[in-house]
């Protein structure tokens, strides 16, 4: 179920990367490093000014990874606004309302984030086809601390994104428990990004 496109009003659209080839390659490298080393924070200094409602890092992820072959689920708060037009113009990606079909999802209102299990979890033949969620939070530090272990982490790492709702970490643990299936998470705040792939085991301090 993809969303029928409407005509874009070009006069409202902000520019994307100034030098798309070099800048999207640089951003790709940083996103890849973030996913390869969970718990580390990457600063996407090249990220252009994103439209209202979207953080710069989320915009850079969209410009780098979304294209005409990836269907994208957008947070309802972004629908119909400048961010939706910007993503459609620069990424040419189809938008979808069906979370189970989305290759990517952008969540800006994390308190109202739909259950992680409602997104595409991949299938036995192609577990890589699951949804990658871009979750926009107020800050990458200051929240409840979660310790991480797994591939890409030598001993232990921690993340503490702020503003995650109650029960979110339970969902992340359930997501890891069904590996090889599961979604991959990218947390963004401002121009900073950290990744939490499905392969990572999460322990909450005090549990």
């Amino acid at each position: 179920m993809s969303v029928a496109p409407t005509a874009l009003d070009l006069t409202r659209i902000a520019p994307g990367f100034a030098d798309p080839t070099a800048e999207s390659q640089a951003a790709f490298r940083q996103i890849m490093d973030a996913v390869a080393r969970p718990g580390t924070i990457q600063t996407l200094a090249n990220a252009p000014q994103a439209p209202q409602g979207l953080d710069r890092a989320a915009g850079a992820v969209a410009l780098t990874l979304f294209d005409f072959e990836t269907s994208v689920w957008l947070d309802p708060s972004l629908r119909g606004g400048a961010a939706e037009d910007w993503i459609r113009f620069h990424c040419s990606c189809p938008l979808t309302d069906a979370r189970a079909e989305a290759a990517f999802a952008i969540v800006t209102d994390v308190a109202a984030c739909p259950p992680l299990s409602s997104f595409n979890l991949g299938d036995a033949k192609y577990p890589d086809r699951s949804t990658t969620l871009v979750i926009q939070v107020a800050d990458l530090a200051g929240g409840r601390s979660a310790s991480l272990s797994g591939p890409g982490i030598k001993t232990e790492a921690t993340v503490a994104p702020a503003g995650l709702p109650d029960g979110f970490w339970d969902q992340v643990q359930a997501n890891n428990a069904q590996f090889q299936f599961g979604v991959d998470l990218l947390f963004v705040a401002g121009d900073r990004l950290t990744a939490l792939p499905r392969s990572i085991r999460v322990t909450i301090k005090g549990d």
Partner: protein, 156 residues
């Protein structure tokens, strides 16, 4: 850009976009460089080169078929005064695409339009007409008229 600044109908805009798309890159660049004042602009979508499938219909009305792929370059720019223009041009010349988008933006602005209407758009249209005429004349010179000899009665 205020809404009343958009004065063009789709048909007119289609005409100049078509002229800019089919013009030769060297002509577009020369016409642009020849302008006394060129507004500053920045890229909304930096020029990118791609391919489009050209489709045709048999006999103009029949079933659609793929004629073949052609290279196109597209760009979108915003002038400092706020107008937005876009272009899809034939070939792989990035500068051509950028200038075509800037001219499209200027053509949409009543204030800037006189600057480019004659010096760029009309000039390119004229060059295209001239090229088509030359080609048509060269083709016409090779035309062979087939006719049937009328048998004449031999003098008795």
């Amino acid at each position: 850009m205020s809404s009343e600044a958009v004065v063009e109908t789709t048909g007119e805009r289609r005409r100049w976009l078509s002229i800019l798309a089919k013009a030769m890159a060297s002509e577009v660049i020369a016409a642009w460089e020849g302008l006394a004042e060129r507004p500053a602009f920045r890229a909304l979508r930096a020029p990118e080169i791609g391919m489009v499938m050209v489709r045709g219909r048999m006999g103009g009305t029949g079933d659609a078929f793929n004629v073949g792929e052609m290279t196109v370059t597209r760009a979108a720019v915003r002038l400092e005064s706020g107008e937005t223009g876009l272009s899809y041009v034939a070939g792989r010349d990035r500068r051509h695409a950028e200038i075509a988008a800037a001219v499209d933006a200027m053509m949409q602005s009543p204030a800037l339009r006189p600057t480019v209407e004659g010096a760029v758009v009309a000039r390119l249209a004229e060059a295209q007409t001239r090229r088509r005429d030359t080609a048509a004349r060269k083709a016409a010179a090779t035309k062979v008229d087939f006719f049937t000899m009328v048998r004449t009665r031999s003098p008795a």
